[in-house]
């Protein structure tokens, strides 16, 4: 371990999953690393919390199906306690009339299910659509693993990267290559409509193009989000549904354990307020809220880019143009979460007593593409939809350890709620926390009558909580809106997509960097590669 002159090789700001991933990779490469987490707990929004005595639940992030397999492998997360469980069902989307769309991990089972429900045309089309999503998602995955090329002064490496991507692109074959160029910027509603007929099935797939965004299925570019969601893990048209045993917090604990095992130090309750620069304008360390200063050869911000550039960095050093640009990074948070402790497993009408379909993602209020769009409409005018879209998981069906301290039969249901705009027009979030909880229970009541009576404890996280408690500017769980304007070469800003920020020796490793949000470890892994290269060169 090399701590030269009291300074670390890398000081990582933020102990969320990307910060920890980046730290673990750097420590594994032999660098001296310190992680600083503002909160008392590690994990950021990938954590497990106790919402009632003996009942543990995810707070914000629910599942970990998009974690890059290479991260788990390289850091040997299994030996650090990570255990993943993938149920046979991926999505259960019940409608109030008792019908439902059910997508299974097994393609043939899904096809059979669609046929059984009278969707013969879609049953026939689904395998082709699934193949298309896998193929296009595969290319997006390669893109995700690539550091965006330097377009200002391209070097040999950039040329090689370009060639590799060109090969991947050609590998799609003529038909898919043509398709991907046409569909990337398309509205996901149009994309699914090209292959599928049933409105409910379209909605169940299209949802993945708008999850975590302030966009509706008719917004251009949402197909790209669907493909991003399908990138890397072979989720196909149904998408991945994978739980970490012990909740999402178990993943971040495994990451922290791995980082420590490679020699990284981790401090919690350590709030960074400033990135310290020297006379040459290079980042040389950080200052904590306590006044303590810690030196580092590389400063790695695994927090959102706006906070990094506007709060931590000296405005004079950044300059007015970059401040204007950073200030315009859009972070319109529209996600809230609600966690319910239930005295018994609720009866979902459309499940017809079959508990197996409840083990994946339960999609509520997405009865059709227009239902998604209408829920989004409300958010445009600063309101919460009367019919919010909810993606729920009952993780206690998978992992009884989450409720092992509670009464027998207890279950925990966690709901991701959209669209709940961070900026409400005629209300403030602290004032409508309960209203939101009530609306979510009401939405669940429509498809699982009687669920309200089973609720023994409830906890609500509003977009304001995401901003205030988790430090996400704008309350955006993905740090910067995953829209076309913030992709690859221009995520978070054109010219700064290569993890190197405008201040020399300051790096970005959070979800605001390429390839963006989700519990993937991608930005942290990619950033570590670039930081290690720079540290070796110096």
């Amino acid at each position: 371990m090399t701590v030269v002159g009291g300074a670390y090789d890398a000081v990582v700001v933020g102990g969320g999953h990307n910060g920890l991933t980046c730290a673990a990779y750097l420590a594994k490469a032999g660098f001296g690393v310190l992680v600083l987490e503002r909160r008392e707990r590690l994990g950021g929004i990938a954590e497990t919390v106790e919402i009632a005595p003996g009942v543990r639940s995810p707070s914000i992030a629910q599942t970990v199906g998009r974690l890059r397999p290479s991260v788990a492998r390289d850091l040997d997360l299994r030996s650090h306690g990570l255990s993943l469980v993938a149920p046979a069902v991926r999505v259960f989307a019940p409608a109030a009339d008792g019908s439902a769309v059910v997508l299974w991990a097994d393609l043939e089972r899904t096809v059979e299910e669609l046929r059984r429900r009278g969707l013969a045309v879609d049953a026939a089309a689904y395998p082709r659509f699934d193949r298309l999503v896998r193929s296009l998602g595969g290319f997006i995955a390669e893109l995700g693993e690539t550091t965006p090329p330097d377009i200002a002064s391209p070097g040999l490496e950039d040329a090689l990267r370009g060639l590799a991507l060109g090969r991947a692109y050609r590998g799609l074959g003529r038909s898919d290559a043509r398709t991907i160029l046409r569909v990337l910027a398309m509205a996901v509603a149009d994309f699914v409509a090209e292959s599928l007929q049933s409105d409910a099935l379209r909605a169940a797939v299209a949802w993945r193009g708008v999850r975590n965004t302030s966009l509706g299925p008719w917004s251009a570019g949402t197909t790209l989000n669907l493909l991003q969601d399908a990138a890397g893990n072979d989720g196909g048209a149904a998408g991945e549904t994978v739980f970490a045993r012990g909740g999402p917090g178990a993943l971040t604990q495994a990451l922290a354990s791995a980082a420590r095992s490679f020699g990284a130090e981790i401090r919690t309750g350590a709030e960074v307020v400033e990135v310290v620069t020297n006379a040459a304008g290079q980042a040389t360390g950080v200052r904590l809220a306590s006044g303590e200063e810690i030196g580092g050869r590389a400063i790695v911000a695994a927090v959102d880019p706006k906070q990094t550039l506007l709060r931590f960095v000296d405005p004079v050093a950044l300059g007015p143009t970059l401040r204007w640009r950073a200030g315009n990074i859009r972070q319109p948070g529209t996600v809230a979460t609600v966690s319910l402790a239930l005295s018994a497993l609720p009866a979902f009408t459309a499940a017809d007593g079959d508990e197996r379909v409840l083990r994946g993602r339960i999609l509520v209020g997405a009865d059709g593409v227009d239902a998604l769009e209408r829920a989004f409409d409300a958010a445009k005018y600063g309101r919460i939809s009367d019919r919010p879209v909810v993606e729920a998981t009952v993780s206690s069906l998978i992992d009884r350890s989450l409720v092992d301290g509670a009464a027998d039969g207890t279950h925990v249901l966690h709901a991701h709620v959209q669209w709940t705009p961070r900026k409400l027009r005629d209300a403030d979030w602290d004032g409508c926390r309960d209203e939101l909880g009530d609306r979510v229970v009401a939405a669940l009541e429509r498809i699982a009558p009687g669920i309200g009576a089973l609720v023994t404890a409830r906890r609500v996280w509003t977009p304001l909580d995401l901003e205030r408690d988790y430090g996400l500017t704008g309350g955006h769980p993905w740090h910067a809106e995953p829209a076309l304007e913030s992709f690859f070469l221009w995520r978070p800003m054109l010219g700064y997509a290569r993890y190197r920020m405008p201040i020399d020796r300051l790096y970005l490793a959070g979800s605001g960097a390429h390839p963006g949000g989700g519990v993937t470890g991608g930005p942290g892994q990619n950033a570590a590669r670039e930081i290690a290269r720079d540290l070796h060169r110096r």
Binding site: R178, E194, W324, L484, L494
Partner: protein, 546 residues
Amino acid sequence: MPARYDAVVIGGGHNGLIAGAYLARGGLRTLILERRHVLGGAAVTEEIVRGFRFSVASYVVSLLRPEIIRELDLPGHGLHILPLDGTFTPLRKGDGPKGGDYLWRVNDHPRTVRELRRWSLRDADAYEEYGLLMVEMAKFIKPILGLLPPDPTGWDPREFLPLAGLVRDFQRLPAREQAVFVQLMTMSSADFLDQWFETDPLKATMAASGIIGTYLGIRSPGTAYVLLHHYMGEIDGAFRAWGIPKGGTGGISEAIGRAARAQGAEIRTEAPVARLLTRDGRATGVALADGEEIEADTVVSTADAKVTFLDLVEPGLLDPSFEAEIRRFKFRGSSGKVNLALEHLPEFTCLPNAEDLEHLRGAISLSPSTDDMERAYDDAKYGRWSAKPYVDIIIPTLVDPAMAPPGKHVMSCFVQYAPYHLDPSLGSWDDNREAFGDTVVDRIAEFAPNIREAIVGRQVLTPLDIERTIGLTEGNIFQGELSLEQLFFNRPVPGYARFRTPIRDLWLAGSSTHPGGGIMGANGRLAALEVLRAKRGALAAVGAGR
């Protein structure tokens, strides 16, 4: 009349006339065939109410390529463009903090800045900076309009050579302009404008030019690009050089028609083409509706992609995958047009006509707030015309009094949104034409109550009417949506963005092709030049073989 032609052009709209003129200029014996009795397609002037003449569909001009005006000597053939000055946004009482006021931007830049200072000092400063930036952006993107899109699935590096210059030019832009260019290509017009402006009616009115002709709202990603599309016209002449042709937009078509004839092209009206003639997979001419067959070496269609490939081409001739892609090409017309014959001028409550009529001489934009604009779109998404539509109004008689009897006026109202596909519960557009017209008049009356008593005649064009009379599929004024996935090398179908079609000797030259719609003419000209180049290539090959 000769037995056969070198080239037959289907459609006497502006692109057809321009293509025909260039083909004739290149020495080809050319015939242009127009279905209707009048030339111009969407750019026509007709007397709908006795004594009142209207630019029926297309109503302003700014994008017409200057090289076309020059090369075809259109002024010499009678083209006379009268300037339109300014955009006037009236507000009703209750429209935001300055309800009952108005926002009025004119070509005189210092005056506009003074006006904006009434609203926001910050916006007045930003307006200056924004305008300069957009002109830079338009300068950068303009060469793309004259560029032949590559075939990105061609695997041939040479395909991308034309793009190399563009990449170089991009690299030479300052970093901020590079970033803004990327934003223009990806963002919504409302989000894009948010970066500069805080005055809501200003943002709403500016953003409106991002949605014209699209089935998108001002908050939909991809609309910022359309903002730029509308700025293109403003860089060739004066800043914001919008105008109306003397005699209405039909005046343009007549001038181009005369220019085409002067180059030697023949033009026939009331000659609807029923189908394409082919032999061994090659186009050999056209058959008219009355059965007459006209032979030609080359057929250039300026009908839209759907009409050309699905109506005119005999079924089974096209490769099924190509045909599927054409069926996928999205039209979804979203706009209507209401033309009013007026006894007297409307009077907007926020600025009475007593003193001066200057504010009525430009565009009058009913776009009081960004929410208003977005709600108008929300209605359309679910298959209804906007209850409170965005209306872009021009009163041509204020600059061209000959369009109406003395003292009277014509008023052109472009209306959005009017979705082609209505919710089934509403029935067809034929059942709703007058109700739609009433909605538009009611909307105008919110701002100018005396409009009702001024109306002596009205023509309502729904998207269905636009499809029927002008022949534009689903009433899309751009012959296909200008959405991101339908631009450049994807327009109309990847691999066929260079005017050639899978059928030999059949070419496409209308707005369904790159660079899209508007009275721009670039499509017709570029396509004609490609046809001529291909012909010369073929001749050279024959010559070499001898």
